[in-house]
């Protein structure tokens, strides 16, 4: 248990810094370990002295504004920017005609920087304006004269997939796409996970349960609405932007504007959260093109409303039909499933996410016969894309409710049902991967025990559990490390800090290799001209991959230090170690030299410079010949496992749910930074509670957002947070990241909605098949079940 540990640590820190005389939370002071890590960015962020992209100003800077479609589907008959250009203070207006005619997209190149001929969702960009003030820019954008011919809007997921549906993209067949994509009309991609013979096994099963779940889309809602500032120097552009993926932005701008990557420098000042919505190329290419056209620097700052309406990353709507066959002893023999995933109007990373969803519909269970299809379909709605653990919480919510229904049909306790079916070390996954040492069963036992599974509860209360899994993503990543002449350290990394603390914690890994303290390092990060490549704050991959790079860079410097020390101490290299800021002969307290002295020595000769990348661990071998639409998710590298148990209280009169307690047990390999890891779980639970209870995009019949503002897109607040018991199951895996670690950023919001759903169902005796499980939906389900 590390519950409250960080509060105690912070208190201890304040006491140590004489900011507090005493600390009430503390037991005896001596029992508290020193703070493992004080974040380098902490003071800036807490005091408000930190600068975000919207805070920046450069000489001669103009302000930009976008003009968007504001209708879900239409043909552009006329587009006239004359009046906008004529407005005093306007320096440039650009449209599709002013940028290269190029389609882009991660797996399916179906989109352009600005709409050409047809608009396919309400937030699609038509033009951009640069002017001397934000107000003039907005006025000019409104003056752009657009004549649109309305086209039928495709919004219903099931109708969209039918052959008689109007097309979202008439020219879909001509688009360039990943060779593994299976496409047809509005079907942007199909992925299947197939194993054994599900049809036969289902026919032979003792009990078959089939049910259906429908989830609304939802938003990432970073507290910082995005901002982009672009400034050209000759043919080189610097872009300050709020992105999670600076290198993907750089390559995306290069691809769409026809530049070399070294003509583009992407810098992220402090990032005010992203939660996936700031992954992939955002609006940087448009702002760069606008700045070029204006001949001045241009900054665009989104309003909260634009942050809801314009990004191409919302969490996908889904319809999930699940069918499971079991033997009377509770053993699962077959799983079939059909998932329809809302791709929205354009595909960014969504085809890959469809395949992930199919894997989540399997879950971390032993299932010998599987046949799951995930269809990602185009609609005239906001494009879907990665939002923290994309498709994970939604699919887990459906699957774990489905599992409780199966358990109920069997007359089995839900925890016991899971106990009998969860994967073990040595089991074979859906596409042939063999599981190494894993701790999934322990997460179930510990989470259930922590909330007192089985104990009597007051009227209206109940406990639910949900178990899930999430992959790690082994990827290329790089870092540099230097020791300066005074013995202080500098880490230069391409990794992106999105608020999780993953980059802030890198010094822990460097310090351990070098026998130094984490606070002796300063980090330069999120600048593509400074740090080597990293894939960004995405896929919970920072510590997994950049941690490996930092260790490799530190190891180079360690070797350099030891060589210097061996000469100075006239000792054998193999006998030396770096401990407590010293190089010394192992075990000796006298034969030593400080790292600062070695650094001083090196400053006049061979500098202490390390570079690291390291090879990503291999992804498990697969035998997925029977699967189609393979984009790389058919096996899970170093999967992480988790169970949440939720105790809730339901107000039967109103359908209002209060979450009273959450236990979150996670097997994420080795935990490097307990404060940061626990923080990820607190935040993940909060986000999962939101998706469970109150966060849902409400769409009009033609596909427009009806609640694109914070009062009616209801996040959970701090006041709604229950006590959260955090527990880490230690199960280091040889194919995980350095020191046996796995990612922890995305997993914590995966099982929360499912655990809450199962608790609600047990409290009410009525199951909720729609997400979010709003009070009105709960009230409606009770009414349909015969309660007035």
């Amino acid at each position: 248990m590390v519950e409250f540990w960080h509060a105690q640590t912070f208190c201890a820190y304040l006491v140590a810094r004489r900011r507090l005389r005493t600390c009430a939370i503390l037991a005896p002071m001596t029992a508290i370990p020193p703070p493992a890590l004080i974040r380098q960015d902490g003071r800036d962020k807490v005091t408000g002295s930190g600068r975000y992209a919207a805070d920046l100003t450069v000489t001669g800077m103009l302000h930009g504004a976008f003009r968007v479609a504001d209708v879900p589907h239409a043909r552009i008959r006329r587009l006239d920017t004359t009046a906008a250009r004529a407005l005093p203070g306007v320096h440039a207006v650009i449209t599709a005609a002013d940028v290269p005619d190029h389609r882009y997209g991660a797996f399916l190149k179906d989109r352009t920087l600005f709409a050409r001929d047809v608009v396919r969702w309400e937030g699609e960009l038509i033009a951009a304006v640069a002017a001397t003030t934000p107000e003039i820019a907005a006025r000019a954008a409104a003056l752009i004269d657009i004549d649109l011919e309305a086209l039928p809007s495709v919004t219903d997921l099931e109708l969209a997939a039918r052959p008689d549906s109007p097309l979202v993209h008439d020219a879909w067949a001509t688009y360039e796409a990943d060779e593994n994509l299976v496409r047809d009309r509005n079907l942007a991609s199909r992925s299947t996970i197939v194993k054994g013979d599900a049809a036969t096994a289902m026919a032979e099963a003792d009990i078959v349960v089939k049910d259906r779940y429908v989830a609304d889309g939802s938003h990432a809602v970073p507290i910082e609405p995005r901002a982009i500032l672009a400034e050209w120097t000759g043919d080189h552009v610097t872009i300050w932007t709020s992105t999670q993926v600076p290198f993907a932005v750089r390559s995306g701008v290069a691809e769409t504007l026809g530049l070399a990557q070294n003509q583009i420098r992407v810098i992220v000042p402090h990032l005010g959260g992203g939660f996936g919505a700031k992954c992939e190329l955002g609006f940087e290419a448009q702002v760069a093109a606008l700045s070029k056209a204006a001949g001045r620097a241009v900054k665009v700052v989104f309003s909260r409303r634009e942050e809801f309406l314009l990004p191409d990353h919302r969490r996908e709507r889904m319809i999930m039909e699940l069918e499971t066959g079991v033997r009377r002893d509770g053993t699962i023999v077959a799983r079939r499933g059909h998932l329809i995933v809302d791709n929205g109007a354009y595909s960014m990373d969504e085809p890959f996410l469809g395949q992930l969803a199919a894997m989540f519909a399997v879950g971390p269970y032993r299932i010998p016969n599987i046949d799951i299809t995930a269809d990602t379909v185009y609609t005239n709605t906001q494009p879907s894309g990665s939002v923290r653990a994309p498709t994970g919480p939604t699919t887990c919510w459906a699957l774990e409710q489905h599992h409780d229904v199966v358990a109920e049909r069997l007359g089995l306790d839900p925890v016991e049902f899971r106990r009998r079916n969860l994967v073990h070390e040595g089991d074979t996954g859906p596409a042939g991967q063999v599981f190494e040492r894993i701790g999934v069963l322990e997460t179930l036992e510990r989470a259930a025990a922590a909330v007192g599974w089985g104990k009597p509860l007051p009227e209206g209360e109940a406990i639910g559990v949900a178990t899930g899994w999430w992959p790690s993503f082994p990827l290329a990543s790089g870092a540099h490390l230097t020791i300066n002449a005074d013995g202080s350290g500098t880490i230069v990394t391409g990794a992106q800090e999105c608020g999780t603390g993953a980059v802030m914690a890198l010094p822990i890994l460097a310090a351990e290799v070098l026998g130094m303290r984490p606070d002796q390092f300063r980090i330069l990060y999120q600048d593509t001209d400074a740090g080597p490549y990293d894939s960004g704050a995405s896929g919970s991959q920072t510590t997994f991959n950049n941690g490996r790079a930092v260790i490799a860079a530190a190891t180079e410097v360690r070797d350099q230090l030891l060589e210097l020390a061996a000469n100075l101490l006239e000792a054998n290299l193999a006998d030396l170690e770096l401990v407590d800021g010293m190089a010394r002969v192992k075990g000796s307290s006298t034969a030593s030299v400080s790292i600062a002295d070695l650094a001083s020595e090196a400053s006049g000769a061979g500098l202490l410079l390390g570079r690291g990348s390291g090879l990503p661990p291999p992804t498990p071998a697969v035998n997925a010949a029977s699967c189609v639409g393979r984009l790389g998710a058919e096996s899970f590298a170093a999967p992480t496992f988790f169970t949440h148990a939720a105790r809730v209280k339901v107000d039967r009169d109103t359908g209002v749910v209060r979450v009273l307690e959450i236990a979150a047990a996670h097997e994420s390999g080795t935990i490097i930074n307990p404060i940061g890891a626990a923080g990820q779980i607190y935040g993940g639970v909060a986000m999962g509670m939101g998706q469970a209870l109150s966060e849902g995009i409400q769409l009009s019949a033609d596909g427009r957002q009806r609640n694109a503002y914070l009062l009616d897109y209801k996040l959970q607040t701090v006041a709604d947070m229950p006590p959260i018991h955090v527990d880490f199951v230690d199960a280091p895996s040889p194919t995980a990241g350095p020191k046996g670690l796995k990612g922890i950023a995305e997993p914590p919001n995966v099982p929360t909605p499912g655990a809450i759903a199962n608790a609600i169902a047990r409290a009410l005796g009525t199951r909720i098949h729609e997400l979010p499980m709003t009070p009105e939906r709960i009230w409606g389900a009770m009414a349909a079940n015969g309660e007035s």
Binding site: R305, K649, L711, A719
Partner: protein, 298 residues
Amino acid sequence: MGGHFSAPSSLSDALTAVAAGHRPVAGGTDLVVGTRQGKWTLPEDLVALDRIAELHGIVATDGGLRIGATTSHADLAADQAIRERWTAIADAASIVGSPATRHIGTLGGNLANASPAAETSGPLLCFEALVEVRSATGSRRIALADLFSGPGRTAIRQDEIIVAVELPELAGAGSCYVRLEFRRQMEIAVVGATAVVRLEGDIVREARIAITALAPTVRRIAAAESSLIGSDGGPAAAAEAGRLAAGAATPISDVRASLDYRRAMAAVVVRRAVTGAIARARGETLLIPASASTFGAS
């Protein structure tokens, strides 16, 4: 570019500015937020009221309280007299928006904004408060029942500002404001209800019941009130009052809830407000805000 912003410390300067067409602004929690949300454009000329000392504060009067228009929700919620004798106002003021909203948002602003979902309106209506408005040429009192003419519309003229709310006391009354809450903070009323009752022995002798966010303006429901008078205020009587109030409501369907759900919740929330008011009239403890206990927690 026009635009004039002043922050006078005297009421007469503010009244002069308002007479010249400047829009008064107090906490700005509706005006500024609504602007950012695109509901309206920010008026060019603004006069801020927050530096005018005489508009701020709560003082006891012969028959009750006089509350300055720029008194914050947080100050209302913390006032001992209000908590003890006008408890429904404390229930309401302590759940407006978030802690930040409550510290900057004002009672006068809440009334002038005239939202059918405004928290303080229902309790003030039931306590039969008077709103004192002033212009450069004089002042007048408007009964709260006559203040609202529709969503966002009031009987206040453009050259007038609210200076105070006069709050008469209903001796011995118990009162309660309950709001349906989907989350614990940053909430807006989807359904709200106020009940003010006075008992003689075990019998309800006086009852005032108002519904919030269930009609174009906050309003009292006479049928529900008369059904409660003469009853014991027990579960059946509270439920009947709820049923009658729900029947008199004219709810709408929107992104927050459907008409059917709102009507069903009207009955529940009125019942709970009545039950809470009865309990308080009997001297039983029901924590402020009542919503937190009724939708509540552990």
